[in-house]
Amino acid sequence: MTPIFLRPTVRPFLILVGVVLLLAAIDAGNGRILTVATAYSALQSFSTFALVALGLGLTMLIGEFDLSIAGVFGLAGCVALTTGAENAEIGLLCAVGVGAAFGLLQGLVITSLDLGSVPVTLGGLLTASGLSYVITHNQAISSDNLDLATTINDQIAGVFSIRSLVVLAIFAACAIVFAATRLGRDLVAVGSDRKAAIIAGVEVKKLVLGAFTFSGVMAALSGSMLSYGLASASPSGLSDVLVPSAAAAILGGVSLSGGTGTPFGVAAGALTLTMLRSGLNAVAAPPFAHDLATGLILLAVAVSDAPYLMRRMTFLGSRFRRTLE
């Protein structure tokens, strides 16, 4: 029996509390790190990738992996700015439509041809990223709609903004659907044991299709909101979103082998990362410190999620005891 603090439903929140306590301890009452401004900036960076992590986490929950999110994220930003020059709503619709189409098509290929999701979404990632280079002519593009940029980033009640409120609302809706409907249990069933789920009458193909479409939509929504918020978009910048999203999902208790994870867990994982980043910002750490910190965290969670970790540790432990005797 796993101890309660190691269970994937509990662990993410304990890690989050630990990180907040750590920051408080470093801060030591100087009011540099744990401030309203930090909370606002943490929520802002939370809203850039938390939804991507949610979509990726959903595909991981059912035992797949969506690499294409990084490409769709960038593509959606470029689509939103190019098509939304006159009317931002139309741009957002186009971007989300592109994301949904990408996710749906990949889902169709995966389910109808019975292919692995990593290769297919690798192709999707390269195609989406190539497409965003094509529509931007290999340059960073910018929009002159700065009003929109300030509106969606304006502080509401000190710590929130329209962007972060949208993200939090989606998380809440997903958490309710996941906890209270049959859909949630079906998803867990697909991820735990696909064959058993098929026998039990779960419509696995539809769920896989839905998960990839959802993941595409989430990536596109975050990408276009970020581009509107910055009033600019660039076709490059792959690792900027894939690394924190994967780290947040695994930190949030979603296992790469499928079957575990909840929306709130993913939110806690994403918050943990953003708290760390804001902490680094507050102490004025240089930009590479972010890369090193997120990279190390991703490596650490990859190791902690590795299927043979416990076996190897037990082996090392017993060998160690033998040498002692």
């Binding site: 292919l115 192709g123 280079y133 064959k195």
Partner: protein, 325 residues
């Protein structure tokens, strides 16, 4: 009794036409496409001129060494690495730093060992505790970028004016020396794969990890070895870049990971591993570089190359890859 949900029949027939059932037919399709590509290239104005061919050979050599490295990882059943480009760029920097400080021989040995160790370490994590290879490589990519931006202050490393690497810049009988190095790497790689115990074991591990484990193959050293070879060859491609440009920086090998996996897959090494050869990768590198040069000659800019690479990878995966990884 199979309880998999059946894929739709028409799709299965299309896939049966291209892959799986008829390997000869698959090889024929590939050969026809390649011949068509060659004819198209030959008909392109000024493709058969000396400057264009030299450019083709040097481009192919740099991407080729990296692709040869990627082939080891793909064959080992670990799909691909997102960190080989970063390894190449960082090894190029190590090469130039050592070249300025200690001379050519020390620089060559140092950079190659550095690349092998860097990637070998990832192989150790993947092989020993079976951590997810994709996640580990994404984390490694960020860590390498972060660390080298930190160490070099985000500046290029330049070769001293009196550095002794110019003898590697010559051409022998009109063929750039880079290309000879690349061909040597391919031949040696193929010898390792076909005629050594390690190579045969690697193919076994890639085609079925549980079976390889059941017959008692040492999985960890084999995966470690494959990653070391991959890192060694990536460092080689970084060295070629450093020699050509007399300088190195971290933006050198962006997109090389994608070109490399495209070359491996186009050549006919399946993405699920367990099969493949350096000769196939050589063919794939030829195809990818010809496409690049021809697109360039027709006046298409870089973004179309990215898009074409993406589409090709997606197409090859859909048509040729086997059932789920």
């Amino acid at each position: 009794m199979s309880i998999e949900q059946p894929a739709s029949q028409s799709w299965l027939q299309i896939r049966a036409h291209f892959g799986g059932l008829a390997r000869t037919r698959m090889a024929t399709t590939r050969a026809v496409v390649l011949v068509a590509l060659l004819i198209w290239a030959a008909l392109t104005p000024s493709f058969l001129s000396a400057p264009s061919l030299t450019a083709l050979l040097t481009t192919a050599s740099v991407i080729g060494c990296l692709s040869a490295g990627m082939t080891f990882i793909t064959i080992s059943g670990n799909v691909m690495s997102f960190a080989l480009g970063a390894t190449a760029a960082s090894s190029a920097m190590v090469f130039l730093l050592l070249l300025n400080a200690a001379g050519l021989i020390a620089a060559l040995i140092g950079a190659l060992l550095f690349g092998a160790a860097l990637t070998g370490f990832q192989g150790l994590i993947v092989g020993w505790i079976r951590a997810n290879p994709i996640i580990v490589s994404i984390a490694a990519n960020v860590l390498i970028y972060g660390a080298f931006t930190w160490l070099t202050g985000n500046e290029s490393v330049n070769a001293d004016a009196n550095a002794s690497h110019s003898l590697l810049k010559t051409a022998i009988g009109g063929v750039p020396i880079e290309f000879l190095i690349f061909i040597t790497a391919i031949v040696l790689g193929q010898i390792v794969l076909s005629y050594t115990v390690f190579g045969r074991n690697l193919l076994l591990v890639g085609s079925g990890l549980p079976a390889a484990e059941a017959v008692g193959l040492p999985i960890t050293p084999i995966v470690f070895g494959a990653y070391c070879c991959a890192g060694f060859l990536s460092a080689l491609s970084g060295i070629l870049l450093a020699i050509r440009y007399n300088q190195a920086n971290m933006s050198f090998a962006v997109h090389y990971d994608y070109d490399a996996i495209a070359a491996v897959l186009v050549g006919g090494t399946p993405i699920q591993g367990g099969d493949g050869s350096m000769i196939r990768t050589l063919v794939g590198v030829g195809a990818i570089s010809i496409i690049q040069v021809v697109l360039l000659l027709y006046g298409f800019e870089e973004q179309w190359r990215y898009f074409a690479t993406g589409l090709i990878v997606l197409l090859v995966i859909i048509l040729y890859s086997g059932r789920r990884v």
